[in-house]
Subunit: 220 residues, 2 copies
DNA sequence: ATATTTTTTTAGACCAGTCTAAACTTTTAT
DNA sequence: ATAAAAGTTTAGACTGGTCTAAAAAAATAT
């Protein structure tokens, strides 16, 4: 059984590796977890000793199959709890991330199964992020970063990065939430801000905002 | 803010002190928490340093007002979560204690308020134990241990100690659950077992079972 | 009243997780 | 090709929580 801390490291590495594929560097992990590189090196050794990651000194870590599966189970719990908090307890979508950060560590497979059933097997959390099923399968809607789309792009908002409450409050205020139609009208060369149409309302989004919005891609 | 471990100690001491009044001995705490007396002494020093308990060397500890209030807040969380698990997630009453033991440590006052509202401000948990309100007030129904009642006693089952799942399964099977009417017909001198009438059904309860059942007392 | 038993505390060690400072590798610049 | 800079690991220390073994105090028995 993993400790609270081990679980947080594993999840951070998984996210930094973009689904567990890319190699992840010590300093990236340190920054994400607000800790120091020396601490990360220690934990890396422990997690690779338990075969959740593979580690090549000075060149970072990669997740193993086992590591990915463990990370996905934590992410599943996190997103189910976020859904519960918004749908059943009437929390705002910007208030749930930190609480889910704690709840994701509760140990009880039965609890998660029952929670899933209670919520009617949701496919996505309140921020649009997909909820892995009990076997770690993720229903991935093809998506890309809004900031990287070309002029004239048309699609809809799939998800939003959820760790910053002020961003979520702002997006909620201007109406840029998952599911909404979005069109890219213009890119400002000077500050890379975007002019977009969200459900027929014209909006201007700064670069840091656009980087945290994921939009649908039609695979063809 | 208290650590996970500090919270567990504080709750254990509160229960051993029967509502925070009686003095509690080092070994009692050690036994309840499955730890060693030496560890308890260390923690006692820490908690008394933070003014949650007052400590007289070799003579045990007493809870302070601050300590009681903190313990009651943890107990409130524990019992609200148990209620949630049974009422909303369809758990059996014998499955919830260990999960609530984890959930009680989640830090978010707003979460508990919202959970309380979602459950419609329940007065008692699934085992009949009263749920303290947000100010730590406990609605105490006058009660006593079934094992200590005199022959001919009539009343109803108020609550049941919840930490042993096999006891709960058994009580559920024989129909001795909170709310049920109960009458004490006979005491067997040899093994102190009781013959009782639960909702007009005759049952025999052994001493250890009767000691874990709380029954109503009419204050007169 | 003294000796024995029981309970509690202290001393010293260990593990998980963290940190700073120093040493070592790799990358980048010249 | 060499020097400087950046990133990573190691060494050693610290905290919170735990343990065993030994010392000290309190309760009990004679
Ligand atoms: Mn989240
Ligand atoms: Mn977390
Ligand atoms: Mn309980
Ligand atoms: Mn607990």
């Amino acid at each position: 059984m993993l400790s609270y801390t081990e679980e947080n490291y594993l999840k951070a590495i998984y996210h930094l590796a973009q689904g567990g594929t890319k190699a992840v560097l010590t300093n990236e992990i340190a920054e994400m977890l607000n800790t120091k590189a020396a601490s990360v090196t220690d934990m890396i050794k422990k997690l690779s000793g338990k075969n959740f990651i593979s580690y090549e000194k000075y060149y970072g870590v990669k997740m193993t199959r086992q590591g990915k599966s463990e990370a996905l189970s934590i992410i599943r719990k996190h997103r189910l709890w976020e859904t519960f908090l918004v749908q059943k307890l009437q929390f705002n979508w910007d208030e749930v991330h930190d609480i889910a950060e704690q709840l994701e560590h509760i140990q009880s497979p039965l609890l998660i199964e029952k929670l899933d059933a209670f919520l009617n097997y949701p496919k996505a959390d309140p921020h649009g992020e997909p909820i892995p099923d009990r076997n770690g399968k993720v229903q991935v809607q093809a998506h890309g970063c809004l900031h990287e789309q070309t002029l004239g792009y048309k699609g809809c908002i799939v998800a939003v990065k959820d760790s910053d409450a002020t961003l979520l409050k702002y997006l909620n205020k201007i109406g840029a939430t998952p599911g909404k139609k979005i069109e890219l009208l213009n890119k400002e060369a000077y500050d890379e801000s975007l002019e977009v149409l969200v459900e027929n309302k014209k909006l201007s989004l700064s670069k840091p905002v656009a980087q945290n919005i994921l939009v649908s891609l039609t695979t063809r």
